[in-house]
C-alpha cells in the first residue's frame, strides 16, 4: 500500500493532535502487537476512564445492565427508574430477538416501562412513585418478575430502590422483584453494568430452581444475546447434536431458565467480558465448571462443539457431533471458496464491544481477509492479553465501588462435576480465555476505546476494505467510501453464529466490499481522462 505508515509511526501519528496529557494516556492504549516465545503480548491499558471530549464509542453502566444483560429476557418487566430518556433509548434498539413458546406466553420485549421521573420527583424523591409504578405494572400484567434499573439521578437523590423492591416483592407475593444500582456514571463504560447485572441475577434469580430439565449432556450457554437470531442457530445446532440447553444468559431466555441455569453440568462462555462473573460464581457455589466457547466462525464452531463433546466424553455424542460438523462444513467451504475469489487479500479492522472485535477476525480469515487493526470498546486487559494477566490487573478508583460478591460453596448443592486435571486431560481450557492479542499477527495495531479522531486517521492511512464498529461510527466511515459493518446490530442482518451464520457473514462481506456503488462516487466529469468541454453561448 502506497505511503502506508508503519505501525509504530502510525501509533505516534494517532496521538499527535491531542493535548499532551491525553496523548500520553492514549499511547498506553495503542499497542503494536507482538508475540514473544512464551506467547505473551505487550501490556495494554484498558477499562480506564475515557478522556472527556475525545469522542468515544462508549456508553454507560445502565446500558450494560438493562440493555445488554437483562434486555433479552422476555418475561421480566424491566422498569427503568429515572427520567424518560434512558428507557426510551433502550426501547427495542438492541436486536436481541426472542421466540415466545406460545402465542400467549409472556413477551414484554416490545414494551418500554419507565417511572418518568420529573422535577418534583428529583426534589422530593421518587420512591413513592417507584412503589406505585411497580404496583401498576403488576396489576396490569401479572408478570413473573419485575426488574428495577437505576439511572443517574437515582443514586444522587437517595432513592433506596432495593428496599422498595424487597417491600413490593413481599407485598405482591409470587412476583420476584429485584433492583439494579446501575447508575450511568458508575464504572467507566457498559462493562460496569454487566458486572452489576451478573451480581444481582446471581443474588436474586439464579439457583431458585434446582430441578434440571430432562435430557442428557446438559449445558448452559453464558454470554450469548441472540442478536439477529444467533441463539436460534446455536439452539438448532445443539438440538441436532442431542445436547440439552438448560439456559442461555440471556438470548431468547425466560426467567425460568435463569432460575435453573446452575443445574447444567457445564457452562459454556461465549462473551467472556459480560458474563465471566456469573460463570465464576456458579462454579464457586455449585461446582459447575466453565470453559470458553466461540460460535463465531465455522472452524471455531466446530472446535467448540468438539470441546462440549470432549467434556461429556461419550462415544455416541462424539460421533453425532463429528457427523454434524462434517455435513455442515461441506456447505460452508463451498460458499467460502466462492466468496474468497472476490475477497482474498482484502483487509479489515474491527473496533467494537468486548468480544466481537476478537472473534469476528476468524470469519474474515475464513474468506482470506487480513485483520490490520482491532480493539475493544469496553473490555478489560484479560480480554486483550488473556486471563493469564488477571492477577496483575489493578482495579482503579472508578471500578473499585463495583461490588465483588463473596461466594462460598453451597453446603448442600455444591457438586463439582469433574476435576480441573481431568478437564485439562480432555483438552478443555478450564476457566481460561486466551484473549484477542495472542491470536492477532505481529505488527497489527491494537487500540482500546478508539476515538473518532483515531478512527478517521486509520481510515485515511491504512485504508481497510471494511471497517467494523457500531452505529455511531457507521456513516462517518462510509462517507470515506469505505463500507462499515456494524457488529453490534449486524446492520439489521445476521445471524452470523454457527455454520449457517458463517455463510451469511461471508455473503454479507462480499456484498459490502464489492457493491457497485462504491465505484460510482466520483462523477464521470471529475474522472481522469474524461474530456471536459467548456464553451460559451454566443448570441448570433
Amino acid at each position: 500500500m502506497k505511503n502506508r505508515p508503519a505501525p509504530e509511526r502510525l501509533r505516534e501519528q494517532l496521538v499527535k493532535r491531542y493535548p499532551a496529557k491525553v496523548a500520553k494516556k492514549r499511547l498506553g492504549q495503542i499497542v503494536v502487537n507482538t508475540k514473544d516465545a512464551s506467547g505473551a503480548v505487550p501490556e495494554i491499558k484498558a477499562n480506564t476512564r475515557t478522556s472527556p471530549g475525545i469522542i468515544t464509542q462508549r456508553g454507560c453502566c445502565y446500558a450494560g445492565c438493562k440493555g445488554v444483560v437483562l434486555g433479552p429476557t422476555r418475561d421480566i418487566i424491566n422498569l427503568v427508574h429515572g427520567p424518560i430518556g434512558c428507557s426510551f433509548y433502550a426501547w427495542l434498539t438492541r436486536r436481541n430477538q426472542t421466540r415466545p413458546e406460545t402465542p400467549d406466553a409472556d413477551n414484554f420485549m416490545t414494551y418500554c416501562f419507565s417511572t418518568d421521573l420529573r422535577d418534583e420527583d428529583i426534589v422530593f424523591g421518587g420512591e413513592k412513585k417507584l412503589r406505585q409504578a411497580i404496583q401498576e405494572a403488576y396489576d396490569l400484567f401479572h408478570p413473573k418478575a419485575i426488574g428495577v434499573f437505576a439511572t443517574c439521578p437515582v443514586g444522587l437523590i437517595g432513592d433506596d430502590i432495593h428496599a422498595v423492591a424487597r417491600e413490593m416483592k413481599e407485598k405482591l407475593g409470587g412476583c420476584n422483584v429485584f433492583a439494579f444500582s446501575c447508575e450511568g456514571y458508575k464504572g467507566v463504560s457498559q462493562s460496569a453494568g454487566h458486572h452489576i447485572a451478573n451480581n444481582q441475577l446471581f443474588k436474586h434469580v439464579i439457583g431458585l430452581n434446582d430441578e434440571p430439565p430432562a435430557g442428557r449432556f446438559k449445558i448452559t450457554l453464558l454470554g450469548e444475546y441472540n442478536i439477529g437470531g444467533d441463539a436460534f442457530i446455536i439452539e438448532e445446532m445443539l438440538a441436532a447434536c442431542g445436547i440439552t440447553l438448560v439456559a442461555t444468559l440471556s438470548g431468547n431466555s425466560t426467567i425460568a431458565q435463569f432460575e435453573r441455569a446452575h443445574t447444567a453440568d457445564v457452562n459454556c462462555v461465549m462473551c467472556h467480558r459480560s458474563i465471566n462473573y456469573v460463570a465464576d460464581m456458579i462454579e464457586k457455589k455449585y461446582g459447575v465448571p466453565w470453559f470458553k466457547v466461540n460460535f463465531i466462525g465455522a472452524n471455531a464452531t466446530a472446535k467448540s462443539l468438539r470441546r462440549i463433546a470432549a467434556f461429556f466424553d461419550d462415544p455416541q455424542l462424539t460421533q453425532t457431533v463429528e457427523a454434524y460438523i462434517t455435513e455442515q462444513l461441506a456447505q460452508v467451504h463451498a460458499v467460502a471458496a466462492d466468496v474468497r475469489t472476490r475477497c482474498e487479500g482484502k483487509t479489515a479492522m474491527l473496533f467494537v464491544g468486548g468480544s466481537r472485535a476478537h472473534h469476528y477476525q476468524e470469519l474474515f480469515a475464513e474468506i482470506g481477509m487480513k485483520t490490520l487493526a482491532a480493539g475493544y470498546e469496553f473490555a478489560h486487559r484479560d480480554d486483550y492479553e488473556g486471563r493469564r494477566v488477571l492477577s496483575s490487573i489493578k482495579v482503579d478508583a472508578d471500578s473499585r465501588n463495583i461490588e465483588e460478591l463473596d461466594v462460598q460453596p453451597d453446603p448442600e448443592k455444591y457438586r463439582p462435576r469433574i476435576s480441573p486435571e481431568e478437564m485439562a486431560a480432555r483438552g478443555l481450557p478450564h476457566q481460561d480465555y486466551a484473549g484477542m492479542m495472542p491470536e492477532m499477527e505481529d505488527n497489527t495495531l491494537v487500540i482500546d476505546d478508539i476515538s473518532e479522531h483515531e478512527t478517521q486517521e486509520l481510515l485515511h492511512t491504512w485504508r481497510p476494505d471494511v471497517f467494523c464498529a457500531g452505529i455511531k461510527e457507521k456513516y462517518g466511515v462510509q462517507k470515506n467510501g469505505i463500507p462499515c459493518k456494524q457488529l453490534h446490530s449486524y446492520d439489521y442482518g445476521g445471524p452470523y453464529a454457527g455454520f449457517k451464520g458463517a455463510i451469511n457473514f461471508y455473503r454479507e462481506i462480499d456484498r459490502m466490499i464489492n457493491a457497485t456503488v462504491w465505484k460510482m462516487i466520483t462523477p464521470p466529469w471529475r474522472q481522469n481522462g474524461t474530456p471536459h468541454l467548456e464553451a460559451e453561448y454566443v448570441r448570433s
Binding site: 472527556p52 471530549g53 462508549r58 434512558c86 428507557s87 434498539t93 416501562f113 439511572t151 443517574c152 444522587l156
Partner: protein, 461 residues
C-alpha cells in the same frame, strides 16, 4: 400472535407507570439544534450513555454521521462536580477537532448536582482553553423536565442569548426559527422565502449538515448550518418569524427582549391552512407580494385534495408525536375531512388541548386528546383496541400497533428509524403538503389493494 400482546382494551388509570412513551428527554433536542450551527460540535455534559444514546438515535434517523462529545462523568464527578471534565473536554475538543463553536447541553446528572455552566465556561476562557475567535455556548436541558422539544427550544434560545447582538441599524432581513423540522423542510422554507424575495437568516439550519452527499471524503463539519456571524447579526434583523410555538417561541421572545426584534409566532406551515397563515403573515410583515408561482403551488395542493377527497373522507386517524407537528397535522387532516380522533403527545403542554381544538374547529366531536404524564403509546393503542382507526400517523414505534391491528401507517415525526425520505423530501409548505398527501394515500390505497375482495379489486383509483 401479537407483537404487543399484553395491551388490553380495558383501560386502567395510571399515575406512576409510563408504558411506550410518546416523548423522550431534553438533551437530544439540544443536540439536534446545535447541529444546525455551522462547524459546531455539540457537547453532552453528563455520563457517556447520554451522548451515545442521542447520537445513536439521530444517526438512525438520518443515516448520517452525528458528531458530539461527552464529559464522560464517572462516580467521582457525580460527587465532586463535572468542572474538571468539562474543562478538559473543551481543551481536547478545540485541540483535536477544531470546531468554530462548542454547544454544551446539560443532562439530569449535571443538573442534579448543580454544575454552574456559566462559571465553568468562564473559567475555560480564563485558562486559555478556548482559542481566540472560538466560542462555547450552553443550554440547561435537564431530562426530568419537559421533553426533547423543550431541549431543542432551550438550545435555540441559547443561540440568541449568547450570540445575538443588538444593533442600531435595522437590516431588511428576517430571522426564521423553523422549529424541529427536517433539513428538507428547511430547504423548502428557504425556497418559499426566495419566491417571496425575502432575505432571511434561518436558525438553526440542519440542511447541508444532516442530508449530506457521499463524496468519498468525510467532513467532520459539513458545509451547512447557520454561521456564528449570522447568529450575531440576528439582533439587527427586522423581524423574527417563529414557526412551531413549542420549539421556537422561546428564541423569538429572547431576541425581542435582548435586541428588540419584533416577532410573529405561528403554527408549523404543514398542510393548506397553516401554510396559508405562514405565507400571509410573512408577506404582510415583509410587505411583499405573494407571487403567482407560489399561488400555483397552492392550487396544485388543493387540486389533489379535491381529486382524491373520497379516500380521505371521514377516515379515522390516530396521531402521536410532538405538539407543533400534531397541531398543524390536525388542521390539515380536518381540512381533508378526515377525523383525527386520537391524539397523544408525551410532551407536557398545558396549551395543547386548546391548540388542537383551534385546529379542529369543532369538526371532530368526541376526539380523545392527551398530553404530558402517562400520555403514551400504550394508552393510544388501548383507545384503538376499543374503537379502531383507519390510519396511523407517527414515528417508527407505531409499526408494532400497525402490524398487530393491520392499520395503514404513515411515518411522520421523530424518530423514523426504518425508512428514508424524511430528510430529503419536505412535509412543510404546499409542496410538502403534496408529499404528505401522497404518503397518506399510498398507505390507504396499498391497504385497500391488499385487502379488497378480488371482485372489487380496482384498476383505477
Amino acid at each position: 400472535m401479537a407483537l404487543l400482546r399484553h395491551t388490553s382494551s380495558v383501560i386502567a388509570e395510571r399515575h406512576a407507570l409510563t408504558i411506550n412513551p410518546a416523548k423522550t428527554c431534553q438533551p437530544v433536542g439540544a443536540m439536534y439544534a446545535a447541529l444546525g450551527i455551522h462547524a459546531c460540535l455539540p457537547h453532552s455534559h453528563g455520563s457517556q450513555g447520554c451522548c451515545a444514546y442521542h447520537r445513536s438515535t439521530l444517526t438512525r434517523h438520518y443515516k448520517e454521521p452525528v458528531m458530539a462529545a461527552t464529559s464522560s462523568f464517572t462516580e467521582g464527578a457525580a460527587v465532586f462536580g463535572g468542572q474538571a471534565n468539562l474543562l478538559q473536554a473543551i481543551e481536547t475538543i478545540f485541540t483535536t477537532y477544531n470546531p468554530e463553536l462548542i454547544a454544551v447541553h446539560t443532562t439530569c446528572l449535571s443538573e442534579t448536582i448543580g454544575d454552574d455552566l456559566v462559571q465553568i465556561i468562564a473559567k475555560a476562557r480564563e485558562e486559555g482553553k478556548i482559542p481566540h475567535g472560538k466560542r462555547v455556548i450552553h443550554a440547561n436541558t435537564p431530562s426530568y423536565a419537559g421533553s426533547h422539544v423543550t431541549g431543542f427550544s432551550n438550545m435555540v434560545k441559547a443561540m440568541v442569548t449568547y450570540l445575538a447582538e443588538p444593533a442600531r441599524q435595522r437590516v431588511r432581513r428576517i430571522n426564521l426559527v423553523p422549529g424541529w423540522v427536517e433539513p428538507a423542510d428547511i430547504r423548502e422554507l428557504k425556497r418559499i422565502l426566495a419566491m417571496l424575495q425575502i432575505d432571511a437568516t434561518v436558525f438553526p439550519d440542519t440542511s447541508g449538515v444532516l442530508d449530506g452527499p457521499q463524496t468519498g471524503s468525510f467532513a467532520m463539519f459539513p458545509p451547512g448550518g447557520v454561521t456564528c456571524e449570522q447568529l450575531v447579526k440576528t439582533g439587527a434583523n427586522s423581524l423574527t418569524m417563529a414557526i412551531g410555538p413549542t420549539a421556537s417561541h422561546a428564541a423569538a421572545l429572547a431576541l425581542d427582549a435582548k435586541c428588540k426584534v419584533p416577532f410573529e409566532t405561528v403554527e408549523l406551515p404543514l398542510g393548506l391552512r397553516a401554510t396559508d397563515t405562514f405565507v400571509q403573515t410573512l408577506a404582510a410583515r415583509a410587505m411583499v407580494e405573494i407571487p403567482p408561482a407560489l399561488e400555483e403551488e397552492r392550487g396544485r395542493l388543493v387540486d389533489v385534495m379535491s381529486d382524491m377527497h373520497q379516500y380521505f373522507y371521514r377516515k379515522r386517524v390516530a396521531l402521536w408525536g410532538d405538539p407543533d407537528q400534531l397541531v398543524a397535522l390536525t388542521g390539515f387532516l380536518c381540512d381533508l375531512d378526515m377525523l383525527p380522533v386520537y391524539i397523544v403527545t408525551g410532551t407536557p403542554d398545558p396549551t395543547f388541548e386548546d391548540r388542537i381544538a383551534c385546529a379542529m374547529q369543532g369538526r371532530v366531536p368526541g376526539a380523545k386528546v392527551r398530553q404530558g404524564p402517562c400520555a403514551d403509546m400504550f394508552l393510544l393503542h388501548q383507545w384503538i383496541k376499543q374503537e379502531p382507526v383507519d390510519v396511523l400517523i407517527g414515528n417508527t414505534y407505531g409499526k408494532y400497533i400497525a402490524r398487530d391491528e393491520n392499520i395503514p401507517f404513515v411515518r411522520y415525526g421523530f424518530p423514523i428509524l426504518d425508512r428514508v425520505g424524511h430528510a430529503y423530501f419536505p412535509s412543510l409548505g404546499y409542496y410538502g403538503g403534496l408529499r404528505l398527501l401522497e404518503k397518506i394515500l399510498d398507505a390507504i390505497l396499498d391497504h385497500k389493494d391488499r385487502t379488497s375482495p378480488e371482485e372489487s379489486f380496482e384498476l383505477v383509483l
